[in-house]
């Protein structure tokens, strides 16, 4: 049941629960497990446009966080018997274990077109067939919108911790930086960080201390890190005042690198604004052009908000833009050693084209200017 009254009947799988979330579609053809465990999807129900989902099962190695954050999953056909030597569990059982309902057998292309044409809207997945359509609509409309909730506070770590694991899976790309440089420590703000970001940082030879989203700047500085990382995360960046305030202090003292929500927060720090897109970018095929080199990288993306390049003051430079819709994909500060990207260089899921950005961060820590 969509907010606009559209009702579709499908087959339930995963958890036998009802849920409401903001419907987003993701066009990645692989990587459903990474998507399911990405904290940035909190509050959202994800539709995958690839019709066959679950084909290769799930495995602990591919988790991007310890749990599933999304509200629900919509697919054309959920696979019952996975086929891949790495698979440890079937998709449906995995969803059930984490209490997330799924629905299949619905026309996902039609829903995708609805979101594309009419924007993101809330969707209810229910097993209750007795309830009337009017009651359903009522239920959907009463549910909170993504923007109403500070989802970051729900997904961030409660305690600081050290992250040590690099690329341990044999199915990982080579580390972006060869180990052996000077060991440096960074503090990573967890707004809902994906593990592959932390793995990528660690694989570059960095000692990573992960801190809660609300950690004040002073507490970070006390740890005397060499740099700060601002992670991805769910929801509207504008309501994360605590993070924007902390970052405002930190950018003046240390090299800072932001990804996704971290990038949007830096947008605010630089004095810019963010806005909600009609249906965002969620997929693994978004072309981004590096405005300095003219080269294009195919990127993994997952965001519904974007930095408005018009709102940026002189101090900030747009470094990357989306080739399809010209939205802002990367920023750096003119003087300060601070840069960020809207997309996901850590991939997982998605292409590895942008892994070099981690190297760029290490170079920044080493004092080489961006």
């Amino acid at each position: 049941m969509l907010e606009d009254g559209t009702v579709l009947v499908g087959r339930g799988f995963g958890a036998a629960a009802d849920s409401v979330g903001e419907l987003v579609f993701n066009t990645s053809m692989t990587g459903y497990q990474e998507i399911l465990t990405d904290p940035s999807y909190r509050g959202q129900t994800v539709l995958l446009t690839q019709p066959h989902i679950g084909n290769y099962g799930v495995t602990q190695e591919d988790e991007e966080s310890p749990k599933l954050w999304l509200s629900g999953l919509v697919v054309r056909e959920a696979c019952e018997h996975a086929s891949n030597f790495r698979s440890a569990m079937e998709l449906s059982d995995y969803l059930a274990q984490h209490g997330v309902p799924g629905i299949d057998g619905v026309d996902t292309r039609m829903l995708t077109r609805a979101v594309r044409d009419r924007g993101e809207q809330r969707i209810l997945i229910t097993r209750d067939t007795t309830i009337s359509d009017a009651q359903l609509v009522d239920k959907v409309r009463k549910a909170p919108k993504v923007a109403d909730v500070d989802h970051v506070l729900k997904v961030t770590t409660q305690q600081p911790y050290e992250w040590k694991k690099g690329y341990e899976s044999p199915f990982s790309p080579p580390a972006p930086v060869k180990a052996g440089g000077k060991r440096r420590t960074i503090v990573a703000y967890d707004f809902g960080a994906k593990r592959n970001i932390l793995r990528s940082l660690a694989a570059c030879g960095l000692d990573v201390i992960v801190v809660p989203a609300t950690t004040p700047a002073a507490a970070v500085l006390e740890r005397k890190p060499d740099g700060v990382f601002l992670s991805n995360g769910p929801g509207d960046p504008a309501i994360c005042r605590y993070a924007i305030d902390a970052a405002k202090v930190l950018v003046k003292k240390l090299p800072v690198f932001g990804i996704c929500l971290g990038h949007q927060i830096l947008g605010h720090v630089f004095g810019g604004k963010t806005y909600k897109m009609k249906f965002g970018h969620h997929g693994g095929n978004q072309p981004v052009i590096d405005l300095t080199t003219g080269k294009v990288e195919i990127t993994s993306q997952n965001h519904s908000y974007a930095v408005d390049p018009q709102s940026l003051p002189d101090g900030a430079v747009m470094t990357h833009k989306n080739l399809n819709d010209n939205t802002c994909e990367g920023l750096r500060h003119k003087e300060l050693p601070v840069f960020s990207v809207q997309y996901h260089p850590e991939a997982a899921p998605g292409p590895h084209d942008a892994l070099y950005l981690f190297k760029r961060f290490v170079e920044l820590l080493d004092g080489v200017t961006v």
Binding site: T49, H52, P287
Partner: protein, 1088 residues
């Protein structure tokens, strides 16, 4: 950055005749390149010997050379045209090899022609086995363990290291020619010897066998700024061990996790960078061990390939067009995505449907060929199907193949084999050894109770695919149960689910045990509102709106994207052209050519053109060719669904060969508005009794003939007519199962092998006209008037299928009187049949008497050839006639005598079917054709021979062995050969005949006479040309071995006297004066 300004003129190499492994996908890519580059203002010089291509239409290039694609000929063209660059990456292996030879000969350097797309060093690196392996090692990618060998001794040494089973891959061949897997030493020796022979540089790679691993392919595109994108991932249903061209393939890859997929993507990108393909498309093949995920690079093609055509059709991303633009300096981010129009070509398509490609083989044509699928490609065509799910796509693919399948299983719940074979023990060998019917055995295995594990263990087919297919088998039981209760048990919900799984109306009807037709099921289904919707192939899974109606049907949901309701054009403006479906022997690119022309003509007339076809290789399925493209199987059901959806003004069935013609009556009876020649006329020409009656009325003679519904009737007919007789089933194309029979024993033997005849499908028995000249005529008519397009005189005598015979336009030996008689009688017939559009008639001339052999009121295989020979686009004109214009309005001119000779010569796939006899007969065996054009017949014929790959010798030995009937006639021909300086070698009787006639001849021993014998001469390539006419009655084993050896050793072998005569005429012309090259535009300029 805009295009390069330093290039003005570009030479594009085509791929020549259609052969196994190289089909019309290169016409598709070549056409895209020509269009894209001409639009940018480049002067295009094109060479391709294949007249059936759209690319050789004179409007496609500034200068079109229909000449043999050999380095010598291309060198001449370069000298004449002085292009700035040569683009060799769009014409398959033929173009790549030719360009490399030109480079090696120093021609490119001499005339300062730059090779664009891929540089010679890159081609060398990708194609040379050792270089490739070294390159992959350098970037840390694993290859299968392997050793190169240049001789049998080296090959044996390599085997010591690699061990059996071993894969043998010859270097520099296409479609894996000559390769194979050896499980024992004898096979190893055989395959290596063949491979060394076929490899351009006598190189074979002996490689560890990774048979049974999962196989994948990625299509990669790179621009000069080093931007790289993956257009499509393809997963093979058949695991490693079956050539990818012979594998069922699926897009996108289904069983790879993101981690695995991204590593494969990284590897493909590293590969194209390391090999150094600067711009354009490549494909990289991978194998993955299903047990541990170990990935191996199999090979890389530094050019556009069959897979890139498939990937283009599967995603909507036009790889060849983009590759051509990149080759002249554009970058990916500058080029637009043609489908969305709002986004750029620099992205990776994502698809929200499933694509299945299924190969089509022609083993029925070569009964003695080994039908096991190996690393050497054997299929002649393919079908592609799109569905929202794998099962929907798979079932569409199976019914689109036109191999008698209605989907995955014809009768729900029933095995495809004899019931007694439906058990694990009988099934297992069919699963273990891949053949054309393995898919049927997979289903039967399930019906026999085998588990997915068992089927996987035997076949190595991935369990995911098996799991999908098992859903279908399970649903069959539900269909059987529902149908058992009668039609009313088929509820809307149940039918929708059934249709979502891809079941056809025919399959459902079959569950009623023949009591119900597919039409009844269809009516019932429509009444319940269970009809398909059409969704778009849009490159982006609906993220952006699509402006291109490239559509596929699905029963998923109710949202339809055909976009016909709100469109400006009124529905009556729409005209559907039915394509020809998968290529096969007898029905291939020629018919696609006609369909494309029809679409172009109708578009010019202002109609909205709608193409329905299922062949991914073709120009007709380019979304650019028509206004709407429905990628659908050509069945009654699928076509009628489109008709229902878009309410066309007309449906054209005349251009796609036998496929749409077979649908014609059913479509008409159910309300499809067919245009052109009426279905009754089509039937009058196809139905033997009606036809005989008609031509009798018209005063046209026919060889004595009869029809038989039983064996007794057949023998009675044959004996009334008198042997030899030509026998065949009715309603076939390409001379399927057609044979000349010389006596009663032969007729018995024929009927043993072809039992499937009946009252409805009788056996046709015709008097075989010995030593007659066959003549093909293409005519065009508007229902009232008739114009003769061309009269072609066959070079081989009657009895050899017209598709396998060389022919000349204009005739080279027919008298004017005979020619006029044939033209006049053709007109008479066309008028009587009220032909609107095209008609092809075959005649036989014996002495001064003219007999009609058959008439087909549809576009024929020769239409493109004739169009080029007379400088008029017959298919385009015919399409206009079908929509009501007259011949006068269309402006067609009769030109029976063009001032130059055009010769068409066939190309055969014998080198792919080791050991099959190369003898020609009434059953068509050729896959493609070439055209030779020259002011003189001899030279035109020589060009055609060279173009077809028969390197005519300039000197050396010629071996002659002819049947008794030919002995007297061969003498003057051999005398001429001798006069040209050739040494003559002959066996027994032929040698005696020649000696008696005073010709100096060297006698060699027959095979049973001792050694060295004639076969030794052939194997050692001591003879350069073979003239061997077989005795018709029984195939002598000597002859057969000689012909087979000739194929393997690439020695031209002529099997008829008339071809020998033409060949010698050609050699005389050629030896007197070197071949000159002339563009088609110049020839057409002579036609006024």
């Amino acid at each position: 950055m805009p295009r390069r300004q330093d290039l003005k003129s570009i030479l594009i190499l085509g791929s020549g005749p259609i052969v196994i492994g190289q089909a019309c996908e290169f016409d598709y890519s070549g056409v895209q390149a020509c269009k894209a580059l001409r639009a940018d203002g480049f002067r295009i010089v094109l060479i391709n010997s294949n007249p059936a291509t759209i690319m050789t239409d004179p409007e496609m290039a500034d200068r079109t050379y229909i000449e043999p694609i050999t380095a010598d000929v291309v060198a001449k063209i370069i000298e004449q045209e002085r292009p700035d660059a040569i683009l060799p990456t769009l014409g398959g292996q033929t173009a790549l090899n030719c360009a490399m030879q030109l480079h090696d000969m120093g021609v490119l350097e001499k005339f300062q022609v730059e090779m664009i797309g891929a540089r010679p060093a890159s081609i060398q690196k990708a194609e040379g086995r050792l270089e490739f392996r070294d390159a992959m090692e350098k970037i840390g990618l694993a290859c299968a363990r392997s050793r190169l060998a240049y001789s049998m001794d080296e090959a044996r040494k390599a085997l010591d290291e690699i061990g059996l089973p071993a894969v043998i891959r010859p270097g520099f061949t296409m479609g894996g020619s000559g390769g194979g897997i050896a499980y024992n030493l004898q096979e190893f020796e055989e395959i290596c010897a063949r491979g060394l022979q076929l490899s351009l540089n006598s190189e074979v790679l002996v490689e560890e066998s990774i048979a049974g691993w999962k196989e994948y392919e990625l299509e990669v595109v790179r621009d000069k700024n080093d931007n790289v994108i993956i257009v499509c991932s393809i997963e093979n249903f058949d695991p490693m061990g079956v050539h990818t061209g012979d594998s069922i393939t699926v897009a996108p890859a289904q069983t790879l996790s993101d981690r695995e997929y991204q590593l494969m993507r990284d590897a493909a990108i590293a590969c194209i960078r390391e090999i150094g393909v600067d711009t354009g498309g490549s494909n990289v093949q991978f194998a993955i061990n299903p047990k541990d995920g170990r990935m191996i690079v199999i090979e890389m093609n530094p050019r556009v390939s069959r897979s890139s055509a498939l990937a283009s059709k599967a995603t909507g991303f036009p790889i060849a067009k983009i590759a051509a633009k990149l080759a002249v300096g554009y970058t990916l981010d500058e080029l637009d995505n043609d489908i969305t129009k709002t986004t750029k070509a620099c992205f990776e398509p994502t698809i929200d449907y499933c694509v299945v490609k299924f190969p089509r083989w022609a083993f029925e044509k070569f009964p003695t060929a080994d039908s096991v699928l190996t690393t050497q490609m054997k299929s002649v065509g393919e079908v592609m199907a799109i569905g929202r799910t794998f099962n929907e796509a798979m079932q569409k693919a199976l019914r689109g193949l036109e191999t008698g399948r209605n989907g995955f299983g014809n009768v729900p719940g029933m095995p495809h084999c004899k019931p007694e074979d439906c058990n694990a023990e009988a099934v297992r060998p069919h699963l273990a050894t891949p053949r054309a019917d393995r898919i049927d055995w997979v289903r039967t295995a399930m019906l026999a109770g085998m588990s997915n594990e068992e089927i996987h263990d035997t076949s190595r087919i991935d369990p995911w695919f098996l799991d999908q297919l098992r859903t279908l088998v399970a649903h069959e039981q539900a269909i059987v149960a529902a149908c058992g209760k009668g039609m009313q048990a088929l509820t809307a919900g149940f039918l929708r689910k059934t249709k979502q799984l891809g079941f056809s109306d025919r399959q459902i009807a079959a569950a009623f045990a023949g009591k119900v037709s597919e039409w009844t099921v269809r009516e019932h289904r429509k009444k319940l509102g269970v009809v398909p919707v059409y969704k778009r192939v849009d490159t982006c899974a609906a993220e952006y709106p699509s402006h291109t109606p490239y559509l596929y049907s699905t029963y998923d949901g109710t949202e339809d994207e055909a976009g016909v309701d709100g469109m400006a054009g009124a529905p009556k403006q729409r005209v559907i052209v039915l394509g020809g479906g998968p290529n096969r022997i007898g029905q291939g690119i020629e018919f696609d050519y006609c369909c494309v022309h029809a679409a172009l003509a109708l578009r010019e007339l202002g109609h909205e053109t709608v193409m329905i076809n299922s062949n991914p290789e073709t120009v007709s399925t380019d979304f650019d060719t028509s206004d709407m493209l429905f990628f659908e199987p050509l069945t009654h059901e699928d076509v009628m669904n489109v008709v229902d959806r878009i309410s066309p003004r007309g449906v054209i069935v005349q251009f796609g060969g036998q496929t749409p013609l077979n649908l014609a009556r059913g479509l008409m009876e159910h309300g499809a508005p067919l245009v052109g020649t009426s279905v009754d006329s089509i039937d009058a020409a196809e139905d033997r009794a009606l036809f005989s009656k008609l031509i009798e009325e018209l005063g046209i003679d026919q060889p004595p003939n009869g029809m038989a519904a039983s064996a007794d009737q057949a023998i009675a007919a044959a004996e009334r007519i008198g042997y030899p007789v030509l026998v065949r089933p009715s309603f076939v194309l390409g001379g399927r199962a057609m044979e000349v029979v010389y006596d009663r024993a032969g007729l018995h033997s024929y009927m043993e092998r072809h039992r499937a005849f009946s009252q409805e499908r009788p056996l046709l028995v015709d008097k075989f006209l010995d030593a007659a000249i066959e003549v093909d005529v293409d005519a065009i008519a508007d229902g009232e008037n008739v114009v003769i397009g061309g009269i072609m005189e066959h070079i081989e005598e009657a009895g050899i299928h017209s598709g396998d015979s060389s022919c000349s336009l204009p005739p080279y030996s027919l008298s004017d009187a005979l020619r006029d008689e044939i033209a006049e009688k053709t007109r008479r017939l066309a008028k009587a049949l009220k032909v609107i559009g095209l008609m092809n008639v075959q005649w036989a001339v014996r002495g001064t008497k003219v007999y009609i052999l058959e008439a087909n009121p549809r576009a024929s295989r020769t239409v493109p050839f004739v169009s080029k020979a007379i400088g008029q686009p017959l298919a385009k004109m015919a399409a206009r006639l079908m929509l009501g214009e007259t011949l006068a309005q269309v402006g067609v001119v009769e030109r029976l005598e063009p001032p130059f000779f055009s010769v068409k010569a066939p190309v055969f796939p014998f080198n792919k079917f080791h050991g099959v006899d190369t003898i020609l007969g009434p059953e068509m065996k050729s896959t493609g054709e070439v055209m030779g054009v020259d002011a003189r017949f001899g030279t035109a014929f020589a060009k055609a021979m060279v173009g077809a790959g028969n390197a005519l010798p300039r000197d050396g030995k010629v071996f002659v062995s002819v049947r008794d009937e030919d002995k007297r006639l061969i003498v003057p021909l051999i005398d001429r050969l001798h006069a040209l300086g050739f040494e003559i070698v002959a066996t027994g009787g032929t040698a005696r005949t020649l000696q008696t006639a005073g010709i100096l001849v060297q006698r060699v021993m027959k095979i049973h006479e001792g050694r060295p014998h004639v076969l030794d001469l052939v194997v050692n390539r001591e003879v350069r040309l073979i003239i061997n006419t077989p005795s018709g009655r029984r195939e002598r084993s000597d002859d057969r071995l000689i012909r087979s050896a000739a194929v393997n050793h690439r020695i031209p072998c002529i099997t008829t006297l008339s071809a020998a005569s033409a060949t010698i005429q050609g050699m005389e012309a050629w030896l007197k004066k070197p071949l000159s090259v002339t563009p088609l535009q110049q020839y057409h300029g002579q036609l006024t």
